[in-house]
Subunit: 212 residues, 2 copies
């Protein structure tokens, strides 16, 4: 039972992301997940809407894991983290033949703000991601507030880059975001006396930017 | 006839943005636009899909007009342009009680990439906007390529900030984007020898950043 439940959530997640929530019927989820109809409604008395909430939960967890993976892969270096994350998102999207959207963004477009439960769940996930990304970017900034600002702008950029990359079938939006953000991080790191700056910036740059 | 046609497009645009494409039926568009059913199908033999394409065209034109307005309001100053655009988007969204999405993003989420005609129309609009924004941001950069990179990242940020602001019912994402982008523009302007830099940056900063 637990297994067929998980299978249905996974199938729903994939279908919602590639063809949309409205366009996906329960019948298709049941057929593609291979779960018997009776057990489906036993598992999900709330039907498709409940599946959307569960799929959101699963998606958020997986993305949290990816944030951790990117943090490890970049050894906590903010610019490298940004580059790594953008490159991976672009690669994954291309691998899906430019079809897969972000589940959070997909359900936000289709169900928010009318659907209060989904809207609140998405707002919660968004806040959580900002907090996690802010922690990684902290080394490039001088205050918690600044890290959150940078993380918010980066998350917004990732979300928008995905929409743009999907319709233009190109990695360019992710590349532009990575270039822009790493430039900003380098600037912040050299100009604001953060840990990264103290470690990496040459003396001339550090001294000069005091005039900023 | 021309008037009832325009009215139907306007109504569709509003409904698609506040409740989504799938959730909006032709009957509601006809009822709310006040056009007789017969004339509706005479005007739009392609039904809702044709309306979506027309609404996209209208939306793109209006956004082009807004880009021009923001350029005039900011006297072509890139940082001021970014601040003005973010503040207006945030204000408009708040005025709609956090309901109105961007039509381009909405239809991209619901119809791309399966719907080739809509996907191509959105890709075309996206490229056009990048070109227009790049022109405004050119003063903060040293090359056409750099302007396009910055414009792409900014457009991605605006798109994502809208999604985030809509679900969190807060202007914070737009404020974060504006702060981040203006910081970057100041950095670019002072560091890269652009027109703005030549006019504004003090000598010490200009000289020192050659070490960058």
């Amino acid at each position: 039972m637990a297994n067929s439940r998980k299978q249905a959530i996974e199938t729903a997640e994939q279908l919602f992301r590639s063809q949309g929530y409205a366009a996906t019927g329960v019948a298709q989820i049941i057929a593609e997940s291979g779960s018997p109809k009776g057990s489906f409604y036993f598992n999900f008395p709330g039907g498709k809407h409940e599946l959307a909430l569960e799929a959101l939960r699963l998606f958020a967890q997986r993305r949290n894991q990816r944030i951790e993976e990117a943090t490890i892969a970049s050894a906590g270096d903010p610019a490298e983290y940004v580059r790594f994350s953008c490159a991976r998102m672009a690669r994954d999207l291309e691998a899906s033949a430019w079809t897969k959207s972000c589940l959070v963004q997909q359900l936000a477009s289709e169900l928010a703000p009318g659907d209060e439960e989904i809207t609140l769940a998405i707002a919660e996930i968004t806040r959580d991601w900002i907090g996690r990304i802010a922690q990684v970017l902290q080394r490039a900034t001088t205050s918690r507030a600044q890290s959150r600002t940078l993380a918010t702008a980066f998350l917004a950029g990732m979300s928008g880059a995905l929409t743009m990359a999907r319709v233009t079938r190109s990695k360019a939006p992710f590349e532009a975001l990575a270039a822009t953000m790493t430039d900003l991080i380098r600037h912040a790191a050299s100009g604001l006396g953060s840990k990264v700056a103290r470690r990496k910036a040459p003396k001339t740059v550090r001294a000069s930017l005091i005039t900023h």
